[in-house]
């Protein structure tokens, strides 16, 4: 791809996608954590 050797293509080009995937995974993880925290603050955990 892009006239690069196979080794360079496979070892270097996926990285931007890996970083974006990591960012999205962490975003959703932290969003879930924040929701749990809000539930706790509102006392929903005690009822549930």
């Amino acid at each position: 791809m892009f006239n690069l050797p196979v080794e360079t293509t496979w070892l270097m080009l996926p990285w931007p996608f890996i970083w974006i995937t990591l960012a999205l995974v962490m975003f959703f993880k932290f969003r879930r954590d924040d929701k749990l925290e809000e539930q706790w603050e509102n006392g929903e955990n005690e009822r549930g």
């Binding site: 270097m12 970083w19 990591l22 975003f27 932290f30 925290e37 603050e41």
Partner: protein, 529 residues
């Protein structure tokens, strides 16, 4: 006056205006001056974190590396593209909470309070002050060099203009000015580099055409092992090249302070998305431009000037003007944070902690401002001698700071057992290894990048040292647990009220304790009223 200089001066005036705008707010309290009262939102946290991390290296050192080594240099860009995502994900929430729970206002004070040791603060302060100033000093020279070659000013005049503006707005506006200007500078950097990239890359036939041309010049330019396969099979060098920026930012005090200043732990998730977008758009282009210069400017005498040369040779006018501001933005956004952090360490961690513990808020603020001012002026004087190899000094200072503080910061929020013994071994071992590795160029002998060597020794130092140190006290263990589990944090701490009410809380506590002693009827009546 040329268009590029006019636009550049408008940019400088804008930076000064930011500093002056935040002057009054910065003077409200030490917390306001050093941490922006912990009210920094996600976009400013993310973009200023990245613009601070990247420095003038991205416009000068990085492209020069790509020009000399080919695609191998992209390993550094790959690490850089994920640096702040990793940093925010690993440290963000926990460090924000713990720093507030233990009442730390500086990253070095944070280490002392977490590890309950004044010697940690002494060692941390000494290393931080030496290498933060060395790092800032290198940025001064870069600013002078860039402005001299782009504007035609003399080096001394360029240095005084560029660095003078940084010192004024940092001294006046404190951390808030540094963070907000860092955000604006990050956006200018992105626009500048994207504009040059959009113009230059089609000029060489896109990425495919560029690689075809590189193959024709020397096929090893396309290899991951460097030109002439100089690093062939040396995975230790490649791993170190990726890790120095992917995780190294977690060890830079002027970058980790961004976690402490966030509005709340909830800021982290949005900051990660901002970082991911900004990094993928920005980080790779300077290196690709360095590769383009192999084709477009093969005879250039100073590889560090490939991006300015590309802009001024092929795209003069507004684009070149934009680039001048973008390069200076990259340098200034790092330089102001370095000066700010060095000033904070001197005022908060040295003066307030060891010289004058009873200093008032006003005195600490004054000392902080004076330290930044004096450090800046000394830096200008030293930089006029213009020592060579600016970016060698940048990489060296970066590596030593990363190897000193990375393991202590990560362990502070992930290892309950981490203690004074471990952190001292990690800091001294990490810094010492990096210095020895660089001084004796052991990378060539061992095939191990200095950063990777320092990191390994720092981790080993932390593990072994922990077995000798004292277990953290119950209040620290409790804070550690609170920082870990977000739902158990008291709501008032999240809102940032705790610092404001801390002195009052202490007085109330004293009052309650004293109220248990037997009282006369008159005293009791006054209390009831």
């Amino acid at each position: 006056m040329n268009l590029d200089i006019t636009i550049f001066f408008i940019y400088l005036l804008g930076m000064l205006a930011i500093g002056l705008y935040f002057t009054r707010r910065a003077s409200t309290s030490v917390d306001h001056y050093l941490l922006g009262n912990r009210k920094i939102g996600a976009p400013v946290t993310a973009v200023s974190m990245q613009s601070t991390s990247m420095s003038g290296f991205m416009f000068m050192g990085g492209p020069a590396q790509a020009f000399q080594e080919g695609w191998h240099a992209l390993w550094y860009a790959i690490g850089d593209a994920g640096g702040s995502i990793v940093n925010l994900s690993v440290l963000g929430k926990r460090m924000r909470r713990l720093s507030q729970l233990i009442g730390a206002l500086s990253p070095i004070e944070y280490l002392e309070k977490r590890y309950e040791s004044a010697s940690v603060r002494v060692v941390g302060s000494v290393i931080a002050i030496i290498f933060l100033f060395a790092y800032a000093f290198a940025q001064f020279i870069a600013a002078g060099k860039a402005l001299e070659s782009l504007s035609g000013f003399s080096y001394e005049l360029a240095l005084i203009i560029g660095v003078g503006v940084i010192i004024i707005y940092t001294v006046a506006g404190g951390y808030l000015a540094v963070a907000v200007s860092g955000f604006i500078q990050g956006i200018i950097m992105l626009i500048g580099v994207t504009a040059i990239g959009v113009m230059a890359i089609p000029y060489v036939g896109g990425i495919s055409g560029l690689n075809e041309s590189l193959r024709a010049i020397d096929p090893t330019y396309l290899s991951i092992w460097g030109r002439d396969l100089i690093y062939y099979g040396q995975w230790g060098v490649i791993l170190g090249a990726v890790l120095i920026y992917a995780i190294g930012y977690m060890g830079l005090p002027h970058v980790t302070v961004r976690h402490m200043s966030m509005q709340s732990p909830k800021t982290v998730k949005n900051a990660i998305i901002w970082s991911a977008a900004f990094n993928q758009l920005f980080t790779f282009t300077p290196y690709i431009l360095g590769l383009s210069a192999i084709v477009l400017l093969p005879t250039i005498s100073d590889p560090e000037m490939v991006i300015p040369e590309l802009a001024y040779t092929f795209f003069p006018g507004v684009l070149a003007a934009l680039l001048l501001s973008a390069i200076m933005a990259a340098i200034m956004s790092t330089c102001d944070s370095l000066l700010m952090q060095a000033g904070t360490t001197l005022s908060r961690d040295v003066y307030h902690r060891f010289i004058n513990p009873k200093a008032s808020h006003k005195q600490v603020l004054l000392v902080s401002r004076l330290c930044i001012l004096v450090g800046g002026i000394i830096g200008i004087v030293l930089a006029t001698y213009e020592p060579p190899a600016v970016f060698t000094l940048v990489v060296f200072a970066f590596g030593v700071l990363g190897n000193t503080f990375l393991v202590p910061y990560v362990a502070s929020v992930y290892s309950k057992k981490a203690n004074k013994g471990g952190v001292l071994c990690a800091m001294i071992g990490g810094a010492g290894t990096n210095i020895v590795w660089e001084t004796f160029t052991l990378q060539n002998v061992t095939g191990l990048h200095p950063f990777l060597a320092g990191l390994l020794i720092s981790i080993i130092g932390m593990v072994i040292g922990n077995t000798f140190g004292r277990t953290p006290s119950p209040p620290i263990l409790e804070s550690f647990e609170l920082a870990k589990y977000n739902h158990r944090i008291p709501k008032n701490l999240e809102k940032g009220i705790s610092d404001d009410i801390a002195p009052e809380a202490k007085n109330i506590s004293r009052f309650i304790n004293s109220s248990f002693r037997p009282r006369s009827r008159g005293e009791a009546k006054i209390l009831e009223e």
